[in-house]
């Protein structure tokens, strides 16, 4: 990668609105520990003392655990080309902390009595030690692979409570897991933590048509909720590339943003209540459905974005906006970065309440997409432009919105803010525009790696997880982090919930 290209990626990454679909699968073997376990061929090395990463290159897309892969070459500027077989001497750790930490000795090791006890609580079927465990041990980019020997699938809050009470008494570390679509290794074990996956808690408990308040269990998949609400005439206030696999509990635990953040705001505003199970098994019922509740401290905000380190979210009560029928999308070209910024300001002013998304990409990014994927075309071909912007409006009146958007676009073109643009005429064209933008997320791992190697500022858009646990001081003051550590110790004194993540190890007593 040339410096110029990388500079562009840094600028791009900073403006990148959250998407969590990445299509590159890379695993790296730890430096200096390649010898043990033999060849670099398939299979995990179930060593409890290090994160094992192997290198495989293919483009894949997770959807409910089903990988559809297509052969494609990595962009050539990234690492000199496509390499299927992993040469033993190219070991690299992916900027992760895992290679530098040891498994804490204060956590117990799983034994057969524990497994028997869990089988008593959950029944035989939901205590998993077969091949599903392998998938649960790895995040979906295969950057982080743990070595847990037990996967639990609770079906109710009561079961979660009993599991945690037991684990707390035994001092067994646990990892709460949802759709496992995170990008920072927060949803998989680092060593042999017990995985508690919420997939079976997928009931919609209630939906109030008047207020639009949805109460559901944490394991509901986002796309299922979107379909359910679609029939009622409502939408979820968040939308991510990973919606086919991610669960609402995980979205809340990571304070997911998504493509509609600019319109509906963050989960801190839309989540009205939570039910959380604490480390000692206590069930914290904060599942209110009031729009405004000023009685005491608003504890749910602590758990939103806590990434599973303060408690396991079991139920969510969320405000959903009504579904608006008129959606318009424009794909525009700008000459320079400054115009993009001015365009954003103008869009907010002229489009006002109907603006629902504003996304940005540069010409290099566009080239990467066009060269590496089939079935996509540049809407503004054949001219190459420097920057591309995607604007979406959502409103109630088709013709009124279209007129408003056209007026804004024509005005921007006349004033030179945009040099060219197209307006989608039907839903297919609209999806084509979105596909161009969503697919771009596959660049993210390259950008992060480069940025972190050069001590660039980390953006916490995708959460902290394992990847950035020790880097939290870049964005938060020491006093703030100290208070976070105190809260963590108060709520989870034995630190069994998702250890080694979120907070820096210097403040946690892992050894």
């Amino acid at each position: 990668m040339t410096t110029a290209m990388v500079e562009k990626y840094k600028a791009f990454y900073r403006l990148l609105n959250k998407t969590s679909r990445t299509l590159v699968d890379r695993r790296f073997r730890q430096q200096g520990q390649c010898a043990r376990g033999g060849s670099a061929a398939s299979g995990l090395d179930h060593r409890p003392d290090a994160v094992v990463e192997q290198r495989v290159s293919y483009l894949g897309c997770p959807k409910r655990g089903l990988w559809t892969s297509a052969r494609a070459s990595l962009p050539s500027f990234v690492d000199g080309g496509f390499a299927r077989d992993y040469p033993m001497n190219r070991c690299r750790s992916f900027g992760s902390v895992a290679g530098e930490i040891q498994r804490s000795s204060k956590f117990a090791t799983l034994n057969s009595d524990d497994v028997a006890h869990f089988k008593e609580i959950l029944g035989e079927r939901n205590v998993v030690q077969d091949e599903r465990l392998e998938a649960a041990n790895s995040d979906w980019m295969h950057k982080y692979v743990g070595s847990s020997r037990l996967l639990l699938l609770p079906k109710s809050t009561d079961e979660v409570s009993r599991i945690l009470k037991y684990c707390n008494s035994r001092c067994l570390a646990v990892v709460p897991q949802g759709g496992n679509t995170g990008l920072v290794g927060g949803s998989v074990p680092v060593f042999d933590e017990v995985i508690i996956n919420m997939a079976l808690m997928k009931q919609v408990i209630s939906f109030d048509k008047i207020s639009g308040i949805l109460v559901c269990e944490a394991g509901c998949i986002l796309e299922d909720l979107i379909s359910f609400l679609d029939n009622q005439g409502f939408v979820m206030p968040l939308d991510l590339g990973a919606k086919g696999s991610c669960q609402i509990g995980g979205n809340v635990a990571t304070n997911a943003g998504g493509l509609r953040l600019i319109r509906y705001g963050s989960l801190h505003g839309n989540v009205l209540g939570l039910e959380v199970v604490l480390a000692n098994g206590d069930v914290l019922d904060m599942l209110g459905t009031l729009r405004k509740d000023n009685t005491g401290y608003d504890l749910k905000h602590l758990f939103i974005g806590s990434e599973g380190s303060l408690g396991i979210i079991t139920k969510v009560s969320i405000l959903t906006p009504p579904k608006l029928s008129s959606v318009n999308i424009a794909f525009l070209a700008c000459q320079d970065y400054l115009s993009c910024q001015k365009l954003l300001l103008e869009a907010k002013r002229s489009l006002g309440e109907i603006l629902s998304a504003f996304e940005f990409m540069d010409s290099v990014a566009m080239d990467v997409v066009l060269n590496n994927l089939d079935g996509v075309r540049n809407p503004l071909a054949p001219t190459a432009h420097n920057f591309y912007v995607l604007i979406e409006t959502t409103g109630t009146e088709e013709s009124y919105d279209k007129e408003k958007l056209e007026k804004f676009l024509v005005g921007s073109m006349e004033s030179g803010l945009i040099s060219d643009g197209v307006l989608a005429q039907d839903i297919n064209q609209a999806s084509a525009f979105w596909r161009l933008r969503e697919i771009l997320a596959q660049i993210e791992p390259f950008v992060y790696e480069w940025t972190s190697n050069h001590r660039g500022s980390i953006s916490a858009e995708h959460g902290v997880g394992l990847m950035k646990a020790n880097k939290i001081f870049y964005s938060k003051s020491p006093e703030a982090v100290q208070l976070m550590a105190s809260i963590k110790k108060l709520v989870d004194p034995k630190t069994i919930l998702n250890p080694y993540k979120v907070l820096p190890h210097s403040l946690m007593s892992y050894s």
Partner: protein
């Protein structure tokens, strides 16, 4: 040579449609409407012929209620030179549309008419053929390739038929209906959208064109197809045979 292209405003292809509770039709309130995908392909083909210098003008024609003008605007934004809107409320069945087309052809005198092979709302696949029949013109339907020869005043059309591809040579004037693989329609660019605002649109009514739009057909009922029943697990081969024989009646 003038080319007339038919465009229809239909429910967007990607929308999940619902049948109205009274079974009189499909829910169209608050549902996204767009140009019929095959009409987009038809218009794209006409524009390419014009850009190749083989035609002088592309006229987009739509028939329907007031809101159909939106579809016409899309057509103009893609590059059509003029628009014609035949404003008619109530259902327009293919025969009525074909008769209206015949009346317009007598006014406009185009050398080529291009339509989509069918509309995605009624899937009739009749209008193009009926227009050709009423005018007595040759027709090339399900076109996957169109090559115009201006000098010889003919057009070679590759048709997608069940057995493969059939190539026809038609004398102009002719009627062509387009199939999916003919081309990939262009996007409506902003400069063209701006230009479209000043392009003329002529309005007609069926009465002005002396066409009766009442139909011999009446839609009696619209229902959803029956939902797929869940499969049944059988415990033995004997049970399977028994079910195949006595329940499904296939053996």
């Amino acid at each position: 040579m003038k080319i007339m292209v038919a465009v229809k405003r239909v429910i967007d292809y990607a929308v999940k449609i619902r049948v109205k509770a009274d079974k009189s039709g499909v829910e169209t309130q608050n549902v996204k409407m767009s140009m019929n995908p095959f009409c987009e392909i038809a218009l794209e083909e006409a524009l390419r012929i014009k850009e190749a210098g083989l035609a002088s003008e592309v006229v987009a024609v739509t028939m329907g209620p007031k809101q159909s003008i939106d579809t016409l605007r899309t057509g103009l934004a893609m590059g059509a030179d003029r628009g014609i809107h035949v404003e008619a409320t109530g259902d327009l069945f293919p025969l009525a549309v074909a008769k209206l087309f015949k009346a317009l052809v007598e006014i406009e005198k185009p050398g080529l008419i291009i339509l989509g092979k069918q509309a995605i709302d009624n899937d009739c696949n009749q209008t193009g053929q009926m227009v050709a029949g009423l005018l007595g013109w040759p027709q090339g339907t399900f076109a996957s390739k169109v090559v115009l020869d201006k000098e010889k005043q003919e057009v070679m059309v590759d048709r997608e038929v069940d057995g493969g591809l059939e190539t026809l040579c038609l004398n102009l004037p002719a009627v062509i209906t387009t199939d999916l693989r003919l081309n990939q329609p262009r996007y409506a660019t902003l400069p063209n959208i701006m230009k479209a605002k000043s392009k003329p649109v002529k309005k007609y009514t069926p009465e002005e064109l002396n066409v009766a739009t009442n139909s011999d057909l009446e839609v009696v009922e619209v229902t959803e197809p029956p939902k797929r029943k869940a499969g049944v697990l059988v415990s033995s081969v004997d049970e399977l045979i028994d079910k195949l024989k006595n329940e499904a009646h296939v053996i």
